[in-house]
């Protein structure tokens, strides 16, 4: 064989030392010439054919991040030179994961395989490590719950780590699910209860993963358990501690539209159903034990230990499932919608809490009422059950989504939940006018288009045209827009504006990606191994992604992906072949194996 190796980059490959790879390639068996053609070269088949003829090459190796891009021109050159056109081999750095620390070795390995004329995937098969049968799940939302239950029901040990005081995640905040309008809590709470009662699941709430080491199949994980200061097993959630607590802070679970005490339970159906003490606001902790402490005195079960210390837990697990979810974009930075400036401009999740029967108004949809706060001597806008219901409500889609300044991607769920909001509003308030401002109606799932039609038929004004402004004139909000289908300008006086805010990865995502060595895409979501073929695995063996943390998706998709992840975990446990990772295969091993494999 007389081989020619050509390096062509499509993107600027600054992270790869092409010269080093070229030097390596020059020493490979059979290589006659090595040329670095640079970034985005304009190649001419006739010139390449001359090169092939003068060096009498019989095989071409195109190496680069996307070498397939240049395959046609080289094939043509081979044909012009009357050589075998099948002998154009690709060494694709991107496809075979030449990124990060292992980039150089991986790139060299792909070149070596292409030079031998054997597919990389046939050569580089990692050896299977023995698998520890227990699994770590990071994140206790619907994805984490579903994956944990699937694995635990198969009889394998699961550790479920959740950073807040309860599992349930965002789904627990929702009132109804689209498009069936089922009660979200009715689906979720039974699952939460089974998590709490399951023999094979160890629930670690108020905890974070701080350290991960080891190899696929045997990860050593250190978990930081923040002090809950209330004994989970003996607490009966009688609420006496909360009743006597003097501190009031914004409730995270109610997305800050109501207050909670410093000792609190996130919501009545929380699992574990026990109170906890918020160290950031508790007077006793902030004053180093000098003031207050009244909850500990009043607790009839004596389960409050205000001086409980933090603890660490070391675990050995075989697989790790990441299900860290999402949060909302900070909508205050998109000024034109007046969020934070006008009291009755709400984010989607705030409205979700308002309309929820367990919310602060018992499910009544009302506008905020101005009340005088005696403690701070300030007037505040708050939701009270006896507030005035809105007469006109505008729902704006795509706030921060599909917008090059904020999120260029579609958040995928906003269209549908906005339609659901319109339904809930019309259901609860008679004679209300509801306006939906949308750009494109992305009703993509089973029954979704029918749901959108149903909402239209219910009498919601669905305006095809985005509104860019919410203005306040004489204490009256107006929303202006262009109705593109009816070719007219529209201007509505409204009492409440709901913003369908775009979704972003949750705060700790970057930290977890660094800890586990998982890459993220340009928008910050975790990268899956292959979007179409392998959407649950990551490039690191034994680590999986489920739910929103991989990209925006709705509840049915999240649950489906979580179950798929569980299948992957159980496969690695029960196949007996173990799990490995490509990074464990060394370059010399690949070279050696490439020589032993013969292809036709």
């Amino acid at each position: 064989m007389r081989n020619g190796v050509f390096f062509c980059q499509v993107e600027d490959g600054k992270n790869l030392n092409i010269d080093a790879i070229a030097k390596y390639a020059a020493n490979l068996p059979g290589v006659e010439i090595v040329q670095n053609l640079g970034v985005k070269p304009h190649l001419k088949a006739s010139l390449l054919a001359d090169l092939i003829l003068t060096n009498s090459l019989t095989r071409i190796v195109i190496a680069g991040d996307m070498p397939g891009y240049y395959k046609p021109v080289f094939t043509k050159a081979m044909a012009l030179a009357r050589c075998n056109t099948d002998e154009v081999r690709l060494a694709s750095f991107k496809e075979h994961g030449a990124t990060g620390d292992i980039a150089l070795d991986r790139a060299k390995a792909t070149v070596a395989c292409a030079n031998m004329g054997v597919p990389f995937a046939l050569v580089a098969i990692p050896t299977g490590n023995p698998v520890n049968h227990s699994t770590l799940v990071i994140g206790g939302g619907i994805a984490g719950i579903q994956a944990s239950l699937e694995i635990a029901n198969a009889g394998k040990q699961v550790y479920l780590v959740e950073q807040t005081g309860t599992i349930g995640g965002h789904m627990a905040m929702f009132d109804k699910t689209f498009p069936t309008l089922d009660c979200a809590a009715c689906i979720l709470t039974p699952k939460m209860v089974s998590i709490g009662q399951h023999d094979m699941i160890r629930l670690l709430t108020y905890s974070n993963v701080t350290e991960v080491s080891g190899n696929p199949g045997s990860y050593r994980v250190r978990i930081h358990q923040r002090p809950r200061r209330i004994d989970v097993d003996s607490c009966v959630a009688c609420s006496i501690c909360s009743d006597v607590c003097p501190v009031k802070v914004d409730s995270e679970f109610d997305s800050k539209i109501t207050k909670r005490k410093a000792v609190y339970i996130p919501f009545p159906q929380a699992v574990p159903n026990a109170y906890l003490i918020d160290e950031a606001s508790c007077t006793y902790i902030l004053s180093n034990g000098i003031k207050c402490g009244v909850c500990a005195k009043k607790c009839p079960k004596e389960c409050i230990n205000l001086t409980e210390a933090e603890s660490f837990l070391d675990l050995e697990v075989g697989n790790i499932i990441i299900a860290t979810g999402y949060e909302l974009l900070d909508v205050q930075k998109i000024e034109q919608y007046g969020y934070g400036k006008y009291p009755n401009v709400l984010t989607s999740i705030e409205f979700e809490r308002l309309t929820n029967a367990s919310g602060c108004t018992g499910g009544r949809i009302v506008t905020k009422t101005k009340l005088f706060n005696r403690k701070t001597q300030l007037e505040e806008w708050v939701f009270v059950p006896e507030g005035v219901p809105p007469r006109n409500v505008a729902i704006l889609h795509c706030v921060g989504s599909r917008n090059n300044k904020y999120n260029s991607y579609c958040s995928r769920v906003c269209c549908m939940y906005s339609l659901k909001f319109a339904h809930l509003i019309k259901e609860k308030i008679p004679d209300v006018r509801c306006y939906e401002f949308y750009i494109d109606m992305r009703a993509f799932g089973k029954g979704y288009e029918e749901f959108a039609d149903r909402i239209r038929n219910e009498g919601t004004f669905v305006v095809r045209g985005h509104s860019a402004s919410v203005e306040m004139v004489n204490e009256q909000m107006t929303v202006k827009g262009e109705d593109i289908i009816h070719d007219r300008m529209v201007q509505f006086k409204v009492d409440m504006v709901i913003l369908a805010v775009g979704l972003i990865p949750s705060t700790g995502t970057e930290e977890i990606s660094k800890m586990l060595g998982i890459t993220r895409d340009s928008d910050g979501w975790f990268s899956e191994l292959d979007y179409n073929g392998n959407p649950t695995d990551t490039e690191k063996g034994g680590i999986y992604v489920a739910g929103m943390c991989q990209g925006p998706k709705d509840i049915p998709d999240t649950v489906a992906q979580a179950s798929a992840v569980a299948a992957g975990v159980l496969r690695s446990i029960s196949s007996g072949r173990g799990i490995g990772h490509l990074s464990s295969v060394s370059l010399s091993e690949i070279e050696k194996r490439a020589k032993t494999i013969h292809t036709v």
């Binding site: 034109q336 006109n392 795509c398 599909r402 917008n403 090059n404 300044k405 006018r433 750009i439 494109d440 045209g465 985005h466 509104s467 860019a468 402004s469 202006k480 827009g481 262009e482 109705d483 593109i484 009816h486 070719d487 007219r488 300008m489 529209v490 201007q491 509505f492 006086k493």
Partner: protein
Amino acid sequence: MAIRVNPKLIDDLERFGAEDVKFCYHCGDCSTVCFHADEVYRFPRKSMRYLQMGLGRKIETTLEPWLCYYCGQCSEQCPREADPGETMMSLRRWLISRYDITGIARLFFKSLTTEILAVIGVALLTGAFLLFYGLSQGNFSIYDGEGAFLPSHFIHSFDLLVGACLAVFLLINAVRMWFFVMVRGTSFPVPWWLYPKKLYLMVWHFFSQKRYSECERKRNTKVFMPWIVHLGLMLGYVIMLVLVMGFVEKLQYGPRIIWPVHIFGYLATIGLTIGTIYFIRNRLIRKNYVQYKKSHSTDWVFVILLFVIVLTGISQHIFHRTGLNEFANVTYIIHLMAVVPWLLRMPFSKWSHLVYRPLAMYFAEIRREALKRQGAVLPAYSY
């Protein structure tokens, strides 16, 4: 009317400055934030739509580009960074080239080299002609009066000739604009008496530029700076044009200053100087303003020529008053060498919006009134 689709319209418009029309996904944010968009004239989204569909013949008959004063709010808001403001600006350039019957405007907008060559050619021709005329009959060291190098009565007739060329071209183009907009683009009857009834609007918009001042609302400032400067520049230009066309003998008379005439000249000079410096500065430094981010090559030719004219105009006046007649003559020839191409270029360049804008406001109101008589105007849908 049959609709003809030109799929290359967007590519064609790229040469006029709009590069990002294809990104638009029609959310309507731009029309929402625009102060000038109303129930009859909704833009910029609709114009973007016509462009994407390649309806050049349709856009020709619309007035929307002229109703936009490029405050840049739409481009700042645009979620797709499709730059609707710049698109409207490019459409104005494109419309000028469409109204122009000769095709010169199109050539200038598409090729800077052609434009510069044309400007230099006309300037050289003017200079040669003036030199030849001056040398054949006058004395180089006399600026005005008996035996002057360039006698003012000659300059006057020369000016009137150039002015007549300008007026003819502008008139033809204005008639074409009227034909496109009011005949081809108006399928409903327009009562004749609307034309005299709304005529005052043309004068009003010409001298006040009220719509431009409305654009400044977005900045929440008390002083509408770009509007005032633009108004000063425009008024200075018009006063100067009137002086040159009607009173050039008095203007050139010296060294005594004839205050009733010269005071207008000074005022116009102040307006032109401040305007020129302000807009050059904006285009050079204030790149962070959306409307100055992209300057078309023709904009630069315009401001630079204007700058030369202002500078030589002032200096020839000073030289004349201080008795440096030779210098005055030289600067005067340079001045005229810049003025003639600048004036002749006017119907083929952006500067012709001096005529088109007030005309557009005038036509727009006539059309609106005629539409209302048809009962075809839907009020903004609201509760």
